[in-house]
């Protein structure tokens, strides 16, 4: 079986800082996703990538950049961290559009 790994597990940043979150999968899945989960708001799609070198904006892309460096990895950058921001960022992958998603265990972000 494969695995999808997110690093770091916990990230504490300062206001205004640029922060990068990483996601790696060894399923050989084509498609990868970044979601943000806030308490009481469910998961919201930030960016997704259909295949290597592809980038598509989700509903919450403002304030973020993403990079699909190779098929197995998908990075997300918070361009300027907002003070008191607290959320969980979840990475997922799927073989293709109609396939089940597999999620990583998340990166918990706190901005002080």
């Amino acid at each position: 079986g494969g695995i999808i790994t997110q690093t770091p597990k916990f990230l504490i940043g300062q206001e205004g800082q640029k922060l990068t979150l990483k996601c790696q999968q060894n399923f050989n899945h084509d498609t990868m996703y970044w979601y943000r989960q806030d308490s009481g708001k469910g998961l919201r799609l930030i960016y997704y990538s259909i295949t290597e070198n592809d980038l598509q904006k989700g509903d919450l892309s403002e304030g973020y950049d993403a990079s699909r460096e190779k098929k197995s990895s998908f990075s997300l950058t918070v361009t300027s961290a907002q003070k008191n921001e607290m959320a969980v960022f979840l990475c997922a992958s799927s073989l293709n559009a109609n396939s089940d998603y597999t999620f990583g265990s998340g990166t918990r972000l706190l901005v002080i």
Binding site: G42, Y48, L90, A97, Y101
Partner: protein, 108 residues
């Protein structure tokens, strides 16, 4: 865009009771997934059911596509079933929209 409503928001059961979770969505979906999120936060896909009825273990999902609704039935609930159940229909290929979830608490 796709809107997803899940009900109930929270459900408390005694171990052994059955649970019925509902999901209504605003636009036609070609794919619909049910996920389980543990209290620790990890998300696991339970099953995909864009139409009809599907069973896996103690789980049964029924999706009526033209009525834009899906249900998840959990039979003989166990304390380890406690957590959040998320419904996720797609809005187009590659864009899955999540509901806020049903928080299930199963008491021993």
């Amino acid at each position: 865009g796709q809107q997803v409503q899940q009900s109930p928001a929270s459900l408390v059961l005694q171990e052994g009771e059955n649970a019925e979770l509902q999901c209504n969505f605003s636009s036609t979906a070609t794919q619909l997934q049910w996920f389980y999120q543990s209290p620790g936060g990890s998300l696991v896909s339970l099953l995909s059911n864009p139409s009809g009825t599907k069973h896996t273990g103690r789980l049964t999902s029924t999706t009526v596509t033209k009525e834009r609704r899906s249900s998840l039935h959990i039979s003989s609930s166990q304390t380890t079933d406690s957590g959040t159940y998320l419904c996720a229909p797609d809005t187009n290929a590659y864009k899955v929209i999540f509901g806020k979830g049903t928080h299930l608490h199963v008491l021993p």
